[in-house]
Symmetry: C2
Subunit: 337 residues, 2 copies
Amino acid sequence: MVTLAEVAQHAGVSASTVSYVLSGKRSISAATRQRVERSIRELGYHPNAGARALASSRSNIIALMIPLRTDLYVPVMMEIAIAVATSARTHGYDVLLLTGEEGPDAVRRVAGSGLADGMILMDVELDDERLPLLRATHQPSVLIGLPARTAGLTCVDLDFWATGALCVEHLAEQGHRDIAVIGEAPAVYERHTGFAERTLDGLRSRARELDVRLLHRPCQGGYDAVAVTLARILDERPGTSGLVVQNESAVEPLLALLRQQGRAVPEDMSVVAICPDQVATQSSVRLTSVAVPAQEMGRRAVEHLVAKLDGRGSDEVVLLAPELTVRASTGPAPSRA
Amino acid sequence: MVTLAEVAQHAGVSASTVSYVLSGKRSISAATRQRVERSIRELGYHPNAGARALASSRSNIIALMIPLRTDLYVPVMMEIAIAVATSARTHGYDVLLLTGEEGPDAVRRVAGSGLADGMILMDVELDDERLPLLRATHQPSVLIGLPARTAGLTCVDLDFWATGALCVEHLAEQGHRDIAVIGEAPAVYERHTGFAERTLDGLRSRARELDVRLLHRPCQGGYDAVAVTLARILDERPGTSGLVVQNESAVEPLLALLRQQGRAVPEDMSVVAICPDQVATQSSVRLTSVAVPAQEMGRRAVEHLVAKLDGRGSDEVVLLAPELTVRASTGPAPSRA
DNA sequence: AACCGGTATCGAAGCGCTTCGACAGCCTAT
DNA sequence: ATAGGCTGTCGAAGCGCTTCGATACCGGTT
């Protein structure tokens, strides 16, 4: 391994000069800078990460805690993770991948060891057990998701309340008076995952305001589970003419089932999905949907964290405004017989 | 931050003694060990990662390079990534997430800076540009996937050649003589991704041996693309009675299309998928499939890398034997009219 | 001519840990 | 009784970097 000292010797300057060339923290004459840069190139020098971290107490690493469960909204998670990794690099940071497995201990470990300079948490529950630790350790952090109490925290998320409201509005405008929600898996609600509950709140509030009947049913992904859920919904509310789906893995099965039952989309049944655009445009019917802006969430989270690490930036809740794109899966409610 | 020295003082021993308690590299009397451990607990000590890395030239970090593209076989990637992160932790390693974006430079950066002790590469192309660097830098590494030349490399992968062969065998046994393959997106073949080409080789070889006609068509995921591909296939080979699908995102669209066209699965058309079990069991027809053992691949990759880092283990190619599970999507070929 | 404020560079200390050699004490074998 | 071998502990060096004075030199003031 080539060291700073070797570069310094090769360039005929002191080690500190090389360091200042690298960091730009003191002015260096153009001549010296060029000589040093040349030596760096010729020797193929790379600063040693450990030494740097020790001396500067900065690791230039961001920890990203992703949920362990691989069964839930996976593509969204992946997209966020990749967006985080990519934009972290543009700010000079690397990303350490932590799975939820360790739980709060991971926070302790990372904060205690100086492994990472800050962390980004995904899959935040309303009353997440990692939060007290985060506040206590003063670990710079950004949440993707919104817990119940946000005091002293920075959060980035889609405004799921508004998302729910928007879905109902769109269907109500088209004359639908009986709407059903095919939600996330029961486990998601049991864990009090913020986004699921807030979506539901938004749906219900607006439904009440617009005098629309709303039925909510959690639903595991997969064909069979969707079949059961749909049957129950239609049994309980035969007049249902609008569906809101918040579970990527329920989308295709649902469309298949409706087709099979001879219910045309959107003539007999309108469907609004909450999912990434990719899912909405690749499905068998182009879905009217509210996009989950995974990439932007990842990017924003990194930007806020970096701002904090630079001493800029403050605690703040960033809610991205939902956008509903009308595609081919929604239309006027069928006239009542 | 609590330091080693403070722990040592608190326990009334020297710093090196604490270090040896932690690492177990020298024998320590039970009494001393307990005193030290107690101090560690009471003070809430966590070793500083940077200092440790500097002194020991080991970071206890494994770099994982995942593909940047989020359009391809995402759930598999995610599952592997999580398996890697999880099993790395059981060996005392953390995982650094690199996206393909930086390409070969990432290898240089990581190797040069001592950021990670070794790396795991995913999405390996047959003639991957990262490989020469890997060999040159003697960076301990494991590939998930199989390049053209494996000399001096450790690789873990599903035996895709055998997988292809197995699919053909199964269909041939059931009397199918005309088989079509709905493959990965064209881009995947253009990049010469190992697994796609090897699957195809396996399919073709066995088809030739068993005197089965085989038609291969790459296919982007999504409903429309599958519709086009399927139409072309049936146009070109109307007698096709067996399909092999190697593209997760083509599975549901395909089933929907077949249903729509009045082709019953498996009575009129048998379908074999190459996909994770979860996809095969959650689809509208339970699919006969060869599982992609994502978790095992991740776990094995970590184990081999850790073995290398410990000085055990050697270059080796590990091909996992494919297993075909018969479910409801394959059956005897329809008798020829 | 003495002085000042910049600018460019150097030297040295120190970040918190690992690890090597030294050594004190003790037990066993002769 | 003495040499030899263990076991358990300590001290010090050093990993490669950052960063804080200190210093030397420059041109421009008074």
